[in-house]
Every structure is written in structure tokens, then in C-alpha cells.
């Protein structure tokens, strides 16, 4: 920020307008404001104050015979060097350099910058910026609505526990009970077209009917939620969670679900949401433990209350609160998921290389047990997550650097190990036959393998300057429907094929 006067947009032909053309002064002031706004330490109210001063000064200078543009330049010059001024503001308002989540949305720095706003929620944000004039449910990014929906989700789950639903019911229906509230929040916040709303609602109804109508086998060794469930039931429930999460993404993208950018936004949302949810869960868990501990010192047992009321309410409610937080702080705080990616990509790459070396030296991966494939699916999911979240925050125009090379090494290492695993597993399928679990994890493994193999190829092309970064991103966003399809297969096709075992 070296220049001490803002550069007015262009040397407008002042004489053509003649002195006193109001538009010219307005344009100069606007470009001055835009220049000053780059600084975090100076907020909108400060600029209003400075602008008012500037115009007073201009008026005084005009009276002694200066033209608008001359008067403006003198007035700006007299304000002093921008650097010194913003430094002085920063000293008084040091907290502004730490971006704050401003609940009333009024003093939010940069709030006047229309370019930074997401198109769909523009109207809401503007209502927000108007502060007191907005109805209460629109204030604070719709906190009231988010809370109401969160309470709704909590009440539904609590009601289900009170009527004595069995564990298998919760396994099947947990996502069905909670995610409709999240979808409703997106519908309220992003206003998708009716067709998208119907599609999302249809998906919920379909999954709900299928999961609760299928005649699940009652006896099985698998355990979940403290009760017995069939393998296919467990798989279908997991598939339902993935599929319905992706379908709520249709509501999130406000019907633009075909657009790569909108899909990437949902991916970003999902990552940030997860981080916030985990943080809320950690703090909530710690506070609950503290409360229970404090009460136990005075011989009052509140653990049952937490188990019976607080947890069933808080776990679903936090889903909505986390979703609200992601939206509310979007422009305020640096996204956390990409930061975590930057930290863990190098570490995970080292781990994978070590794994390759160990696998080659030991050469016993072929004898590994049946859990190996599931463990490896998780490894590939982590690799994919690290890749996608680093894409999500990368400047597409930036040239390839060391981080992109590390990513390629990570991809290649993951692919090599996965090929070992696949060879071992496919070779032994003849021995064990196709169980639902194995088929599902094998399918997921192949889907991820294809994705990562092509991603590695594109990454190589990008490093050699042959592929634009956009192609890498489009490949990942274009692949999202594949996950949806596989999840749908798990829900709809697997149970009948495997006799609901």
C-alpha cells in the first residue's frame, strides 16, 4: 500500500464536464473509498466519517475557487498518508485485524463489497446489513431460523427415543430424521427452484420408504448402536447417509447442481461444516463432562439427564448450528479445512511412502486379513479429501509449485499400495466368495482408484503445464454423482441382491 493518495480510476476529462459536475466528484470519492477499503483496520463507519470530512474540505476549497477534482486531490492529500492513517487506526482498533464474527452483521468489514457476496444469499445479506430494520428471523444470517430448525431436529430425535425406538431404527433413520432439517435450512437460505426442492424431498421419501420397508434379516453378527443389525442394513444406512448428504447439496446449490463451481462450494461447505461440528462436539462433550462432574461432587446424578435429553437434542441440533456458522463466518475467517490439508498432506505422503517400502520389504500384504480392504478404502478417502480440499482453496491462476508435486507423490504412492491390495483381494475372492461387505468395499475401492488414477494423470499434466488447473477441479466435481450413484446402489440394489442378509 505504498501510494499515499488513491489513484482515481482514470484521468477523466474534467474540463469536458466542467467544474461542479456532481458525478465526477462522486466517482472520485467512490474510487477513494474502494482504495481505503482494502485495509482491514478501517471499517465502513470510519470511511463514512472520513468521507464526510473530505466533502466538507472539498466544499471549503471550492469556495476559494478550486475545481472539483483539484479540491478533491488537495482534500485527500490533507488527510495524510494512507499507510500512516491505517496504522493509526490499527493501533486504536487492533481487534479488527483479528476478524470477528459480527452477529448483527452491521460493522462487518468489507460488507459493502458486493463482489465478495455469494449471489444467491445477496438479498438476505443486504437485509442483514440493514441491521435493525430487518425482521428478527433475517438478522444474524438467519440465526433464529437455524436455531428453530436445530431445536426441531433435536425434538424429533428425542421423541423417537422416548417412544422407545430400537437401535436398528436409529441406525436406519438417523440421517432421515436430521438431514431434512438441514435441507430445509438450505431451502430457506438459498431459495432453490421448486424442481430442486421436489427432487430433494423425493430422495428423502424414497430412502425413507426403502429403508423401513425392506425385510431386514433379524439375526446377524454385526453390531451397531448396541444392537444386532444385518450387514446389508448397515451398508444401506451408510449409503443413505452419503446419498442424502449429497442430495441436500442440491438444495445448497440452489438448483445450480450441474455447475462445477456450485458443487465445489458444497464441497467447501461440507469440509468446513465437519470441522465446526467436531469442534462443537469436543467443547460440548467437555462441558457436559464438567457439568456431570460438578453435580456429582454434591451427590446429584445428572448423567441420566444428559443421556436422555441433552445428547438426543444436542447431537442433531449441532448439525444446524454448524451449518449456520459456516454460512455466517464464510467471509470472516480463513477456511480451516484447506489449512489442515496443507499441514497433513506432506505427513500423509511420508506415511504412504513408508507403507510402500514396508509392503515391498515384507511382501506379506497378500496374506493380510479381510479388514485390509476397508482400511484401504479409508486411506483412499483421506487421500481424496486432502486432494479436494487443497483444490478448494487454491488460486486457479497460481503456477504449479512444490505443494502440487507433493500431491502427485502422494497420489502415486496411494495408487501403488492400492494396486497391491486389490491384487491380493481379488485373488482371494474365489476363496471367500462375495459377501455384501466385501463387494461394497471393493466397489468403493475401484471407484476411488479410477478417480485418483485420472487425478494423478491430470496432476502430472498440470505440473508440466499442459493442463489448466480448472480441469483438475472439474474432474473432482464431475465425479460427485458417481459417489451418489454408488450410495444409491448400496441402498436400493444391495439388500435385495444379498437377500437382506
Amino acid at each position: 500500500m505504498a501510494p499515499e493518495t488513491p489513484r482515481p480510476a482514470a484521468p477523466t476529462p474534467a474540463d469536458a464536464h466542467g467544474p461542479g459536475a456532481p458525478d465526477e466528484l462522486g466517482a472520485l470519492v467512490a474510487s477513494w473509498r474502494a482504495w481505503m477499503q482494502r485495509d482491514d483496520a478501517v471499517n465502513r463507519a470510519d470511511l463514512d466519517e472520513l468521507e464526510s470530512h473530505l466533502l466538507d474540505r472539498v466544499d471549503a476549497l471550492r469556495e476559494v475557487g478550486l475545481h472539483d477534482d483539484e479540491a478533491f486531490l488537495v482534500a485527500v492529500k490533507r488527510l495524510g498518508a494512507v499507510d500512516e492513517l491505517s496504522h493509526e487506526y490499527a493501533r486504536v482498533h487492533s481487534e479488527r485485524l483479528w476478524k470477528q464474527l459480527v452477529l448483527d452483521g452491521e460493522a462487518e468489514p468489507g460488507a459493502a463489497d458486493p463482489g465478495a457476496r455469494a449471489g444467491t444469499s445477496d438479498a438476505l445479506d443486504r437485509a442483514d446489513a440493514a441491521g435493525g430494520r430487518a425482521p428478527f428471523w433475517k438478522r444474524a444470517n438467519g440465526l433464529a431460523v437455524a436455531l428453530a430448525l436445530g431445536v426441531g431436529a433435536g425434538l424429533v430425535v428425542t421423541a423417537a427415543t422416548l417412544v422407545g425406538a430400537d437401535p436398528a431404527f436409529f441406525l436406519r433413520n438417523a440421517t432421515l430424521l436430521v438431514l431434512p432439517f438441514l435441507a430445509a435450512w438450505f431451502v430457506w437460505r438459498h431459495r432453490p427452484p421448486m424442481a430442486a426442492v421436489l427432487a430433494v424431498a423425493g430422495a428423502f421419501v424414497l430412502v425413507g420408504v426403502v429403508l423401513n420397508v425392506f425385510p431386514w434379516a433379524s439375526l446377524s453378527a454385526a453390531q451397531a448402536f448396541g444392537g444386532a443389525v444385518a450387514d446389508t442394513e448397515l451398508l444401506a444406512s451408510l449409503g443413505a447417509a452419503v446419498a442424502l448428504w449429497l442430495m441436500t447439496g442440491v438444495a445448497y446449490s440452489a438448483g445450480r447442481w450441474r455447475s462445477s463451481d456450485a458443487r465445489m462450494d458444497f464441497v467447501r461447505f461440507s469440509g468446513e461444516w465437519l470441522v465446526y461440528y467436531v469442534l462443537i462436539a469436543l467443547v460440548g462433550g467437555a462441558l457436559s463432562a464438567l457439568t456431570i462432574g460438578v453435580f456429582s461432587t454434591i451427590d446429584v446424578d445428572v448423567a441420566w439427564f444428559f443421556g436422555r435429553w441433552v445428547l438426543p437434542c444436542a447431537i442433531p441440533g449441532a448439525v444446524l448450528v454448524a451449518a449456520w456458522l459456516v454460512d455466517a463466518k464464510q467471509r470472516v475467517i480463513e477456511n480451516i479445512a484447506p489449512v489442515l490439508t496443507k499441514v497433513f498432506t506432506p505427513l500423509f505422503t511420508i506415511m504412504l511412502i513408508a507403507l510402500v517400502v514396508a509392503a515391498v520389504l515384507q511382501w506379506n500384504i497378500v496374506d493380510a486379513d479381510r479388514e485390509l480392504l476397508i482400511a484401504f478404502d479409508l486411506v483412499l478417502v483421506v487421500v481424496l479429501g486432502l486432494l479436494v480440499y487443497s483444490y478448494s482453496s487454491r488460486d486457479p491462476l497460481q503456477r504449479p509449485g512444490w505443494f502440487d508435486r507433493i500431491q502427485l507423490v502422494m497420489l502415486v504412492a496411494a495408487l501403488v499400495v492400492d494396486v497391491f491390495v486389490l491384487v491380493a483381494m481379488v485373488g482371494r475372492t474365489g476363496e471367500f466368495g462375495f459377501s455384501p461387505n466385501k463387494t461394497a468395499s471393493l466397489g468403493l475401492n475401484l471407484i476411488l482408484l479410477v478417480n485418483l488414477a485420472w487425478a494423478a494423470w491430470l496432476q502430472l499434466g498440470f505440473l508440466r503445464g499442459r493442463e489448466p488447473f480448472d480441469r483438475l477441479e472439474r474432474w473432482q466435481t464431475g465425479y460427485l454423482p458417481v459417489y451418489l450413484a454408488w450410495a444409491a446402489v448400496l441402498v436400493l440394489v444391495f439388500p435385495p441382491v444379498f437377500d437382506f442378509a
Partner: protein, 121 residues
Amino acid sequence: MRIGKDLVAAAATPVVLGILAEGESYGYAILQRITALSGGELEWSDGMLYPLLHRLERLGHVRAEWRHSDTGRPRKHYRLTEQGAGVLTEQRRQWSVVGEVLSKVWPDDGGPRMRLAFGEV
């Protein structure tokens, strides 16, 4: 003659508080008043007044309020609080001590050392 930077910085707070003690005012008018009072010799860049006012507001010495000028231009008006008045009294005591000391070491005739310095002895 321009007054040095450090002295301006030291004098800024009591001067601004003193002007606000005359009645509520806004940034531009305060600067006009300072220029008029000092004959243009006590000056700093216009913008610097505002961080100072914000600091005083934060400390509770002044209270601010948005008003509109006659032409409809929004203006932030500052008013001295009771606490600010107390601070002003305190500052005034300190400055008058400094002034007394200075007038004693610099008597009107300059004193013996000054006469020496100017070669009058």
C-alpha cells in the same frame, strides 16, 4: 514556525478535549477550530484526528453520535463525558505545571544564561 511532531502528539489530546469542552463538535469543525486558535501553527494531517477521537471514545472520555448536517451529510458528533471533563482538568493541571516550570527557566528577559548565550554580557 512549525511545532515539532512529538509536541503536537502530546498536545493533541488536551487540545481536542478542550475544544469539546466548549460544546459538542465533529471532526472537520474541530480541525477548523484548532487552525483558527493556533493561527495555523498547530497542525497535523487531517485524517490523524479520527483515530485520536476513536481512542478517546474507547477510553470513555468522549461519546459519539451520528447526526446529519444541514445538507443531509452524515456526521459523527463527539461530546465530552464527565470522565473526559475530569481528564481534561487533570491534564490542565499537568500542563500548567510544565508551563510554570518553563516560564521560570525561560524568564521574559531570557535570564543570565540566555544573556550569556546571546553575548550580551
